[in-house]
């Protein structure tokens, strides 16, 4: 086994938690990881964007352990001393050239900008694995909805692309509580590299070739979390959450199958596994957003109050459009869509969320 140099790209909590986790692994298993690099793209890049509905929802990435490279674009501090003390090395974009594996965790609307900035420094022998729970919405620049993996292939020379999903939230990584990730990639090598650098101790890492399935399962989790937040504030109890998770997974699976994913991926760690974690109280930003929406807080106010990146609203819109396009029944997505657009009051939205006229579970 050759030890690998890994780089984490992103300034959010998950990115930082992942970098610390990798550092911990490097100390334990120095033959697996040669160095841990951290690149935080310029703040303005993460914040702005023509179609970024979260522009005013910053300050994002506040609750961050400031130990790891707080200031972006500082300098390539590759001093031998630091390497010996095994620290996360803060790097600039051009230093990404030296990484074997690059983990990408930036907000979806910033992905294309970050990739363009990094592309000249990337090579065909590198691996890129992203953990972004969203797709890139259609915009003026790019007229079609695009998966993050497609954006990586379109904008950078990297071919070995993977995606993470699974029940491993930032606090799990920070506290070393048991968690799991699935790495989806068309290339077996990518999953092997993810296992090499991440598995062991508290984290289980699995691999699958169903890249699109893992990617869409991950993107679907923000939708399920949003719905669970609404259910939570209305105190509907555990069965309602279970219904949202399983029927949500079935709904996402039907939709994703139209795009070439394997349905079974949605009933494994990447789907149901992640949804269980994402619908928990301490879970994602989208869960919090759902709770606020359930209390009839208008969307823009709710986004401001959450103060973190919420992929839910954009994903609900995308899934709604996709369902229409491929003629897939999406009851949870449609209910959320109408809720977000103020067409439902909370109560009828919920009834619609948890009611169905289809009683065959396989449909």
């Amino acid at each position: 086994m050759t030890s690998l140099s890994v780089a984490v790209v992103g300034g959010g909590r998950w990115a930082r938690a992942l970098a610390s986790f990798l550092l911990h692994n490097q100390r334990r298993l120095p033959d697996r990881i040669s160095s841990v690099l951290h690149y935080c793209p310029p703040r303005e890049m993460l914040r702005t964007g023509p179609d970024d509905n979260r522009a005013e929802s910053e300050p994002a990435q506040v609750d961050v352990p400031a130990a790891i490279g707080e200031v972006p674009e500082v300098h390539a501090a590759h001093s031998a001393q630091q390497a010996e003390r095994k620290q996360v090395t803060t790097i600039v974009a051009s230093d990404l050239a030296s990484a074997d594996v690059i983990f990408l965790a930036v907000p979806a609307p910033a992905v294309r900008k970050v990739l363009r900035l990094a592309a000249p420094h990337l090579h065909g022998n590198q691996t890129a694995i992203h953990a972004i729970g969203s797709v890139i919405p259609a915009s003026e620049e790019f007229p079609h909805t695009q998966l993050i993996s497609q954006a990586i292939a379109e904008l950078t020379p990297i071919r070995k692309i993977g995606v993470f999903a699974g029940p491993a939230l930032a606090p799990d990584l920070e506290e070393f509580s048991p968690a799991a990730l699935v790495c989806g990639s068309r290339f077996d090598e990518v999953g092997d590299q993810a296992i090499q650098v991440l598995s062991g101790h508290s984290l289980l890492v699995y691999k699958t070739r169903d890249l699109i399935g893992v990617e869409l399962a991950r993107a679907g989790s923000s939708v399920i979390a949003l719905a669970a937040g609404v259910a939570n504030i209305l105190d509907l109890g555990t069965p309602a959450r279970a219904i949202l998770i399983t029927r949500g997974a079935a709904e996402m699976a039907r939709l994703a199958a139209k795009l070439g994913a394997e349905e079974r991926t949605f009933f494994g760690l990447a789907g149901v596994g992640e949804y269980v974690a994402a619908t928990e109280r301490r879970g994602s930003a989208d869960f919090e957003l759902g709770r606020l929406l359930g209390q009839r807080v208008p969307l823009s106010d709710a986004l401001r109050q959450v103060g973190r990146v919420c992929d839910g609203p954009a994903m609900v819109r995308e899934a709604h459009i996709l369902g229409h396009k491929h003629q897939v029944r999406t009851s949870i997505v449609s209910a959320l869509y109408h809720l977000l657009h103020g067409k439902f009051d909370t109560k009828s939205a919920l009834i619609s969320l948890l009611s169905t006229d289809i009683h065959d579970e396989r449909q």
Binding site: A119, P120, H123, G124, N125, E154, T156, P157, R186, E189
Partner: protein, 540 residues
Amino acid sequence: MSENEPVSDYPLLRFHKERERIVLETTRRALQTVLSQNQPEYILNDACLSEIRRLSEGHAQEEVRALSEWKRLWRSLGGKSRRMLEQDLERLIADYAQDVAGGFQKHVYTFASRVVAPALSLLLSPENPLKLPFHMLQEEALLSRLGERLQVTGPLAKLRALAARGTLVCVPTHLSNLDSPVMGYALQAAGLPPTTYGAGKNLFTNPILGFFMRNCGAYRVDRRIRHELYKDVLKTYSQVILERGYHSMFFPGGTRSRSGRVEGKLKLGLLGTALTATVEGFRRQAGLANGAAVRPIFVVPVTINQQLVLEAETLIADHLKETGKARFIIEDDESAQWQKVVDFARSMLTHTGAIVVRFSEPMDVLGHPVTDTGESIGPHGQVVDLARFFWVAQKPTHVAQRDTEYMNQTGTAIARAYRRDTVLLPTHLLAHVLWRKVTAALPGLDLYRRLRQPLDLHVSDADLCMEMSRLQQQLRNKRHVLGPVADGTPEQVIEAALGAFASYHTEPVALRTPSQAVTVVDRQLLYYYQNRVESLGDEP
């Protein structure tokens, strides 16, 4: 050498000297490959059983081993030592390698390319050759006539420069058995070197095509043999000749398109050898493997666009058969009938732009576009180092799963190039417009009923012109390529298409009626020709 000169020094010229060495190297390496994957008795057992089954069912024709020999070999497997089994295996591989290796004789190639083409156009010209003025009989004049009928387009100067620097792998679309001779002509007209290519062994027994192919660099692929060992020998042979710099050609569709659609799903087995040879070259460069340097390999998608297709009637009939009854290999089609070929050639030669061969932008084995000097360009518009894509711990390495996936991606890039560079001709456009009318006249039916249901459809000239103009505009908006005449006025397109339809097929596909309207005669062929247009919308 200037970019504008044709390539005159090409590797096929030395093939007859290298042939035995190539066969030996193929045998050695194929043996090594198969033995690294399996035990010799399993490999031989599999080959024997597969061949015994095939030869017991069908008639034998130019077989490497007779049925009785296979049976004898199979019965003897049990009692043999590993050493003896390996010797048996080596003999079998060597026989296959000999069978696959074709021949190339320069004087035959010269004869075929320089004499046959003008002779064809002379014999088949509508005028009586004896009445033509003398200067028209000269070779250039005749070739230029053929050149009008059969146009060759694309980035030809760039391809010539790359052919001098590296090895070309042409991957054309496949509609007809005439495609390989057409490609032979197109390469010559483009000033590109001739390529070697795998041609179905059955084609060698075709009296017409066999003559052209036997000595023009084709190697023989026996598609009837289904077992893995034979496929491994074929792949090794292809890899060996690519490593030695022989320009090659594959039809990645695998077989002629039955439906007339542009290929979307490609068979990447032989094309994969271009990738393996590339990795092998990087390994040799890095001192990780022995052998002579491998020149860079460039993949060149080509669309062969035909106004009419020689075997259209047989192919579409086969396509429309019930699932399971369709044939993988068709030997008794129009291309085996002299009269049909002559009729076809005569029809083709009377229509300007009847065949357009369009070369696409060349790419590397991973589907990246390349610069004029052959460097790969990444999606971000900058030069990338191709070798790095094959690194494992900084060393170029063969990794089967990775390379299979890479090949899928290259396959997608080729299928996209086909859609971008398909040249639409008048028959395709008229067929599409009329097919839309048929669909509108028979709504809600499945394809089979739509083809069989009685229908008396007359489309007035005015209506047809309007629809044609609309279709042309739609295709231009989507940046599809309209070929000669097809880019003209709607009236010109319709006249040209009706003329072509009336000139060759048993029944004209569509006819003009006395009442200034057009009616459809053969709906099946109409569907076949319109499929060319419709398949451009598929997302590969």
